[in-house]
């Protein structure tokens, strides 16, 4: 009975030992991976901050204005003058569209040999 118990306990402790060591090593591995990931994130955040700074620098009016000035002649760029602004309600009304149905009717009647204008002249 006691021998049996001893054997079980030895087995348990061996299993426990193996388990604990396995856990220890896996934790160490994960910790290393974590550190390297953190380094990577840190480096990428640094790069990102540089890219963001670059982007905002390139978007500044102070940066864009000289480019505009450089291409002013080639692209004929001038500041907008007051007269160039307009409003919707200042636009004239759209002219009346031609009536395609009436035109078609006229053409088909001409094709049929009936000239409505001639008829009008004759009627008078």
């Amino acid at each position: 009975m006691i021998k049996m118990l001893n054997a079980i306990m030895v087995c348990t402790s061996v299993v426990g030992l193996v388990g604990v060591y396995a856990l220890k090593y896996s934790v160490e591995d994960i910790a290393t991976a974590k550190v390297s990931l953190e380094r990577k994130i840190d480096r990428q955040e640094g790069e990102l901050s540089l890219l963001k700074a670059d982007w905002s620098y390139l978007n500044q009016p102070a940066h864009v204005a000289p480019i505009v000035a450089r291409h002013q002649e080639a692209l004929a760029l001038v500041p907008t003058s007051q007269e160039q602004f307009g409003r919707m309600d200042n636009l004239p009304m759209r002219p009346a569209a031609p009536d395609p149905a009436a035109l078609d009717a006229l053409l088909s009647s001409l094709d049929a040999g009936i000239d409505p204008i001639q008829q009008l002249i004759e009627a008078n």
Partner: protein, 574 residues
């Protein structure tokens, strides 16, 4: 038992089993002692390890503080004005360096600008951490890593970068190498709350919520560009401008030349054309005699009191005598002038009579009411107290009515003009984004809406017929109105006729005022032989050009209808 031992010496003999038992007990006791000693040693070592303080600071500064970040600063439309970039900084641990000479030689192959002796001295010794060079580029970091010198390492620091360069220098201010604000809005943010956040560790290496300023970078750019242009066009020694939203008190643009580069704060202390300390913020910390622009204030005070009516007439035929002095007009008409004419022709005599009708004490009280004798409540730390005499004598009151004998900052003026056109509601200027509802809580009524309407009429009239016509030609259609001021500067102890400060205080669009602006050009020269040197020719034109550029951005469409101007005329004058 008691019977046996009584009176006799007892001989006791232990059996074999008992003797063994005693021996075992003794052994167990020794083992216990040994174990206790063992544990005590381990415990003691643990305490010893726990008690040692490892020095993690670099030259007395915690690493956390070095990596402390600042919130990004954005303009009102979300464009970055200041961002943090992460840069590597090189430090050494001298006690871990094995061969100092080798380290020095190797480091100098990558960083040849370092002094050899300085570096050697720096790397020898038993110190924990010393800086070698701060704020390097990632490329250099890579090169130094490949050298593989023991005891040489990097820490990532936050460095402030201002993408807009010089354009918003006086607004943003600057930070020192430890990322603490030393000037401008950066310093204000620190004084306000950021220092606290950093000290309790909340602002370390993390992304922080961006701060939105009231500045519109497009407007700021237009103003900066026009002021730079004014510096060369009029050969001025300085130029400055500020634009404010009259309803919310938000500052949309603020520029002052000469300026500095916030990315390199030491440029602030560079001489400008041989003048020391000339790169200060003229809008907030410069105080000036603002000349005839003050007539707007005199008029507002007088009209609001009811003692002077817009229909009144004043005798401006003769100069006003004070003892030995006679004050006369620059563009003298020398006839009886109506109130709008006094304003339009910028008559000093007329303005003095208007002020005298109001009464000098009431005039002085009105200046207090519009905050002229106090520092303007504002976020930027660079402020200077205005110089306004506590009590006005007759002559000081007279000169003050046209802006001489008292000095205020341009910020005072823009705040007053904003209040005059905003139905008389004065608000506090701010650098942070603010809604109209929030601003309404700061409103103080300084003049009545009726007087406000009359002032708007006067300002527009001056643009149409008075000294602001050159401005109006440029900004035609945007209903700008304003008052010029050409103040003679005090050189030595007397007013100089050829060294002047040109000011233009304006507001637009006057049919529904949204923005107030003050532009000053210091010591302008004639642009060409045909032009003049008074404010209308320089500060006025600059104002016109700025409005022409920014009005469309601010959503103000040009309108040439004369109805708008005739609607501004008070009923009594129609």
């Amino acid at each position: 038992m008691a019977i046996i031992t009584e009176g006799a010496e007892t001989i006791s003999l232990d059996g074999g089993r008992k003797a063994r038992g005693n021996l075992t007990k003794a052994r167990i006791r020794w083992v216990i002692v040994a174990l206790l000693l063992g544990f005590a040693t381990v415990g003691g070592r643990l305490i010893q390890l726990g008690a040692t303080v490892t020095d993690s600071t670099i030259e007395g500064v915690e690493r956390d503080v070095i990596t402390a970040s600042r919130p990004p600063i954005l303009d009102r439309n979300g464009l970055e004005m200041a961002v943090d970039i992460r840069v590597p900084s090189l430090f050494a641990e001298p006690r871990r360096i094995i061969d100092v000479e080798e380290a020095v030689q190797k480091l100098r192959t990558v960083l040849p600008e370092l002094d050899e002796d300085w570096l050697r001295k720096r790397l020898t010794g038993d110190k924990g951490f010393v800086w070698v060079k701060r704020e390097l580029t990632p490329a250099i970091e890579e090169k130094i890593f490949q050298l593989g010198i023991p005891g040489i390492e990097f820490v990532t620091e936050s460095k402030r970068f201002y993408p807009s360069g010089q354009e918003a220098s006086h607004i943003l201010g600057a930070v020192n190498i430890d990322n603490q604000g030393t000037m401008g809005i950066e310093k204000h943010m620190d004084d306000d709350s950021l220092a606290l956040l950093q000290s309790i560790g909340l602002a370390r290496g993390n992304e922080m919520t961006p701060v939105n300023l009231s500045i519109d970078l497009r407007v700021q750019h237009a103003m900066y560009e026009q002021l730079t242009d004014a510096m060369t066009r009029y050969k001025a020694v300085a130029a400055a401008g500020v634009m404010m939203d009259v309803k919310t008190g938000e500052i949309l643009a603020l520029a002052s030349l000469p300026d500095f580069d916030p990315n390199n704060p030491s440029t602030l202390f560079q001489d400008y054309n041989g003048v020391k300390n000339d790169r200060f913020n003229r809008i907030t910390s410069g105080i000036y005699e603002l000349g005839s622009t003050f007539k707007t204030i005199t008029m507002a005070g007088a009209l609001d009191s009811g003692k002077v009516k817009i229909t009144d007439q004043f005798d401006a035929r003769f100069g006003v005598r004070f003892g030995r002095f006679t004050i006369d007009d620059f563009h003298g008409k020398h006839r009886i002038l109506s109130v709008p004419e006094i304003y339009k022709y910028s008559s000093n005599i007329g303005t003095i009579h208007v002020m005298q009708t109001l009464g000098k004490d009431d005039f002085r009280a009105f200046l207090t009411k519009i905050g002229m004798d106090q520092t303007v409540p504002f976020e930027l730390p660079e402020m200077r107290k205005p110089k306004v005499p506590d009590k006005f004598s007759e002559i000081v009151a007279a000169t003050s009515s046209f802006g001489h004998g008292l000095s205020v900052s341009p910020l005072h003026m823009v705040r007053a003009v904003a209040a005059f056109v905003n139905d008389g509601n004065m608000t506090t200027p701010t650098m942070y984004k603010r809604s109209e509802a929030e601003a309404r809580q700061t409103y103080v009524s300084v003049i009545s809406p009726t007087t406000s309407a009359e002032i708007r009429y006067l300002m527009r009239l001056n643009a149409l017929e008075g000294s602001g016509t050159r401005m109006n030609k440029l900004a035609n259609g945007y209903r700008v109105g304003g008052k010029t001021g050409t103040a003679e500067k005090v050189v030595g102890k007397v007013y100089s006729a050829d060294k002047t400060l040109a000011v233009f205080a304006s507001a637009f669009p006057l049919d529904d005022p949204r923005y107030a602006m003050v532009v000053l050009v210091d010591e302008p020269q004639n642009e060409n032989p045909q032009s003049g040197h008074t404010a209308g020719w320089n500060a006025g034109e600059v104002t016109g050009r700025i409005v022409q550029r920014v009005a469309p951005m601010l959503g103000i469409s040009p309108d040439f209808s004369e109805m708008l101007d005739s609607n501004l005329v008070p009923v009594e004058l129609r």
